[in-house]
């Protein structure tokens, strides 16, 4: 057994686009422990509720994280709507679903790129980000923004999508499927990628449940849990099965995300075909009073919002529990026992979103 060394990892590190700091305790080349310390991105935006009105706060909620920004806005709006018992028009629900799934596609494609970069395949990084741009184009065409949509508001959505655009969107996504085959083919069948991913950072089913993992990380360990089953927005009426894999290693997490890409395209097609006509928003009067928990499935997993309001225009307490936050224990668990050279891989396969963790 060798001597123990502590290697600081981050906050500024080539493979991490975001500042995460880890102290890795090494014995020779093997990791024995990892100690996270966060706070580089901490803004304390949960406290901003006392300074922004509840309808204004949607903008702040969207900026909890720029990757799943739509979902954060959606979750906050749904929580307030639930408290105020607002009936959101059908069409708005479907539009929300479409945007949510588009964000999932763009987030997963982005993840594929970052993961490829972490194991040194820069080509693949470029390829997946190029595909991602086509999704961003659709988003920009429909909502006006590229990463921060600003499309969701309390009581509905801000814009409607015309039937022609919807049809175009489906065609574009069908075409994207063809390109995606190529991308996911490399990830799932290439020998050298497999060498970097298979059997690395294994999280067994029991450990995943014990450590409270969520999202693709949990589903890759064979647990079928997907908050879209709760039936928020229009998911109640769409048919889908959560994607699961059984191995629990980096490769399985990759496979889960690859299959979710196709699932999302399928969900969008379903939503477009069932899209009802009508209004896209309702008028909101008064102020919320009460409290509620709201859960959604983000690209990274289950997210929970807690809103408590006292009947004034300012919300009393707002809390977000983001998926990456719950995945930290699993990440530490996966890191233990793996090689130092695999650290970037393992960290990226849980798809960390640091600004989500720290808010």
């Amino acid at each position: 057994m060798g001597k123990q060394t502590i290697i600081p990892f981050g906050p500024q590190h080539p493979v991490l686009p975001e500042p995460l700091h880890l102290d890795l305790v090494l014995e020779d080349e093997r990791i024995v422990d990892a100690i996270p310390s966060i706070g580089y991105v901490h803004r304390g935006l949960e406290l901003l509720v006392s300074k922004k009105e509840y309808a204004e706060y949607v903008y702040v909620a969207e900026r909890i994280c720029g990757i799943c920004s739509f979902m954060h806005g959606l979750g906050y709006c749904q929580a307030v709507e639930e408290i105020m018992e607002i009936q959101v028009p059908e069409r708005a629900l479907f539009l929300r679903t479409i945007w949510a799934e588009l964000s999932r596609i763009h987030s997963h494609l982005m993840w594929f790129g970052l993961a490829a970069d972490a194991f040194g395949l820069e080509n693949l990084f470029m390829l997946s980000w190029r595909l991602r741009e086509s999704v961003l184009d659709i988003i920009e065409e429909t909502s006006g923004g590229r990463v921060i949509f600003g499309a969701c508001k309390i009581g509905g959505v801000r814009r409607d999508i015309s039937p022609e655009t919807l049809r175009d969107m489906c065609q574009k996504l069908e075409k994207l499927k063809g390109h995606m085959d190529r991308l996911t083919g490399v990830f799932l069948n290439d020998r050298s990628v497999g060498y970097r991913l298979k059997g690395i950072g294994v999280l067994t089913r029991e450990d995943a449940q014990r450590l409270g993992a969520v999202g693709p990380l949990l589903r890759a360990s064979g647990v079928d849990m997907d908050m879209r089953r709760l039936g928020y927005a229009a998911y109640e009426r769409l048919s889908f099965e959560p994607v699961t894999e059984n191995d629990g290693d980096c490769y399985a997490r990759c496979a889960v995300r690859a299959r979710e890409l196709y699932q999302s395209i399928d969900l969008i097609a379903q939503a477009v075909s069932m899209m009802p006509d009508g209004e896209v928003d309702t008028k909101v009067l008064g102020a919320p009073k009460g409290e509620c928990f709201m859960r959604l499935e983000q690209p990274r997993g289950e997210v929970l919002y807690y809103v408590r309001a006292d009947g004034t225009r300012y919300i009393e307490r707002f809390r977000v529990r983001t998926p990456t936050f719950t995945n930290i224990p699993s990440m530490i668990h996966c890191l233990k026992g793996c090689d130092f050279s695999d650290v970037p891989n393992v960290i990226l396969t849980i798809d960390p979103c640091i600004s989500c963790i720290e808010r």
């Binding site: 310390s37 966060i38 901490h42 304390g44 409270g212 089953r229 409290e291 289950e302 529990r321």
Partner: protein
């Protein structure tokens, strides 16, 4: 105007917390989150801790109220994932939690001031 909306929450005392958590764990519940909020109760600041559990997509909530600076037992022996929340609550609210399985001793969140969420 808008009706007051309430969620189902079981209010417990600090002593009951660990035993109730253990029985939930044995029933197969999963810890979703621990949330702390500061409320004013007739002029006195009280911290409310909400423990949320989930089983088959149903939530089960426990709430305990403590005073600022009070001590509570940790549940991280029962639910391994609880340590991140407990460290967070310790760093942001200054609640001291006894026996966290992985205790970062206030080095988890690094903020400009200690316990920012209790300040007004």
């Amino acid at each position: 105007m808008a009706m007051e909306k309430r969620i189902e929450i079981f209010i417990l005392t600090v002593d009951e917390l660990v035993s109730r958590t253990r029985s939930l764990h044995d029933e197969g519940y999963r810890l979703v989150q621990i949330c702390c909020s500061k409320v004013d109760e007739s002029g006195k600041a009280v911290l409310e801790l909400d423990y949320t559990f989930d089983k088959h997509y149903n939530l089960y909530n426990i709430r305990i109220s403590i005073e600022e600076g009070a001590e509570i037992p940790s549940i991280s022996e029962i639910f391994g994932s609880a340590f991140v929340y407990e460290n967070e609550i310790h760093d942001l609210y200054g609640v001291s939690i006894q026996g966290i399985s992985i205790d970062y001793r206030g080095n988890f969140y690094k903020t400009a001031m200690p316990h920012p969420f209790t300040q007004d």
